[in-house]
């Protein structure tokens, strides 16, 4: 054991392929849209309900990831994913239609990395030759569950975030050279700093991000400079500032382009989306398109993915509870020489 909650993968499971499917708002407004593998022109993706569209999004992203890996569904051993809708039914239905052994993971918006870590673990122990891991969210389906009906008019503050319609999936296989591989994962603790505003999730999640960040670096014995990119999930404009402030006060050198946040960048800083994007699909979409392709191109040799999640429910915040948050980290390396 390296440290509590830290897993080191000696066999270096590989992300053989990754794919992203995203909705119309993302097609129009996201600077990453040209990197997404499939874009839809309708929120409903030809389905009757938003929840069915959500499920379709997951199925399509899985298919795309398998295609890119040159595999079919029969080659896959497990499906590991999650979403934010009631009891994760979109994921459950998608799992039913794939027919794969399935583990549903609820880590809210941190599901992209927790699924990745879980898939790496299954591969590491030799239980799988291919695991589909990912996360998804659908704006309309989630907005109405966590907040108000989509068409309800209320003034969102500048610190609010916009749930994305996107699904990102990765095909995790045993080690293959030439692809990004997973060398370490840190399972997040649940951190609750007592924040209660469900429209300021970034601020609630930043302490969890910092907690995991410090634990991961301490276990790995690294400094921020050792990474080409340290990318948080969906802290948004405010959460990112808070996270960096916490890191710099703890003595980490916070500077340069290596510090990124998927949520803040997702809509290119458009004020119509307030502080940025959120949702389980947000970090998955950026990690499995932009970050993955930069690693494949060799721009990033070593990346730290830290997806953050706010583990609240509409019930808990109406009962006046604070927002418990978590953050799971996965470290990717490209090539053999890097790391330990």
């Amino acid at each position: 054991m390296v440290a509590r909650g830290v897993i080191r993968f000696g066999n270096r499971p590989t992300i053989r392929a990754a794919a992203v499917a995203a909705g119309p708002t993302e097609k129009k407004n996201s600077p990453f849209s040209h990197q997404f593998d499939r874009l839809y022109d309708s929120d409903l993706i030809g389905q009757k309900t938003n929840e069915q569209a959500h499920r379709q999004l997951i199925e399509d992203a899985c298919d795309l990831a398998l295609n890119k890996a040159g595999k079919t569904i029969s080659d896959a051993d497990y499906l590991v994913c999650g979403d934010l809708v009631n009891e994760m039914t979109p994921s459950n239905f998608a799992a039913a239609s794939t027919g794969l052994p399935y583990v549903g993971l609820f880590s809210a918006c941190a599901t992209s990395t927790s699924a990745l870590a879980y898939a790496a673990l299954l591969t590491e122990v030799g239980a799988a030759s291919l695991v589909l891991a990912g996360a998804a969210s659908h704006h309309s389906a989630i907005e109405r569950q966590f907040r108000y009906p989509v068409e309800y008019g209320f003034q969102k503050p500048q610190n609010a975030q916009w749930t994305v319609t996107a699904a990102g999936f990765a095909a995790v296989t045993p080690h293959e050279p030439g692809y990004p591989s997973i060398c370490q994962a840190t399972v997040g603790r649940v951190v609750d700093y007592g924040l209660t505003d469900p429209l300021n999730m970034g601020a609630a999640m930043a302490p969890a991000a910092f907690d995991t960040f410090r634990r991961h670096l301490e276990a790995a014995g690294t400094e921020p400079e050792d990474y080409d990119v340290i990318i948080t999930g969906d802290l948004g404009a405010i959460g990112t500032q808070l996270f960096r402030k916490m890191a710099s006060e703890a003595g980490y050198a916070v500077e340069g382009e290596r510090w990124r946040d998927a949520g803040k960048e997702f809509y290119g800083g458009d004020p119509a989306f307030f502080a940025g994007a959120s949702g389980a699909g947000c970090s998955a979409a950026v990690y499995f398109s932009d970050v993955y392709s930069r690693m494949m191109e060799g721009e990033y040799r070593r990346a730290l993915l830290m997806a953050t999640g706010a583990l609240l429910s509409p019930l808990s915040f109406q009962q006046g509870e604070s927002i418990p948050c978590t953050c799971h980290a996965v470290e990717l390396v490209m090539g053999e020489g890097e790391g330990r």
């Binding site: 989509v150 068409e151 309800y152 008019g153 209320f154 302490p207 500032q241 402030k245 916490m246």
Partner: protein, 151 residues
């Protein structure tokens, strides 16, 4: 960083609500909605047999009809993002709360979805409106009976 220091930092970094600007926006938005209402009221008075006293009912219904169109075409949330309370306080906001819930829950069917969830947001307004009206009327009636006040 402990909780207290963090909450201070959070308050510093989180953008302040532009209260003055929001108040002006709410005033203008609400004012415009009420002016439109006044125009509709005069319309009913001029073309139909409604007096200033009775024109209120058809006016409110018409305003809610307009709210339905704006909500259905996705414009009301934009007005609300600009106007804040300016679009929530007029009766159109009440309409928007019911109409948006009805649209949203259609996928669960008309009985359980639309019928059951229409009052999800607006229901509390009706509950408190009716209950407070009952209490006020009761108190006033008792006071009148006791001869403390007149009608």
């Amino acid at each position: 960083m402990d909780r207290q220091a963090y909450s201070q930092l959070e308050q510093q970094i989180t953008p302040k609500t532009p209260i003055a600007l929001n108040l002006v926006k709410a005033f203008v938005t609400g004012g415009i909605i009420c002016t439109i209402g006044q125009g509709i009221m005069y319309f009913y008075m001029y073309f139909f047999d409604f007096t200033e006293r009775t024109a209120g009912n058809p006016t409110v219904a018409t305003m809610i009809f307009i709210a339905m169109l704006l909500t259905g075409f996705g414009k009301y949330k934009r007005i609300a993002q600009f106007g804040g309370a300016g679009s929530a306080v007029p009766v159109t906001g009440f309409g928007n709360a019911m109409i948006s819930a009805a649209i949203e829950h259609r996928t669960e069917g008309y009985v359980l979805g639309v019928g059951g969830n229409m009052f999800k947001l607006a229901g509390s307004v009706i509950v408190f409106g009716v209950f407070s009206a009952f209490v006020v009327a009761l108190i006033k009636t008792i006071l009148v009976k006791l001869g403390v006040v007149g009608w």
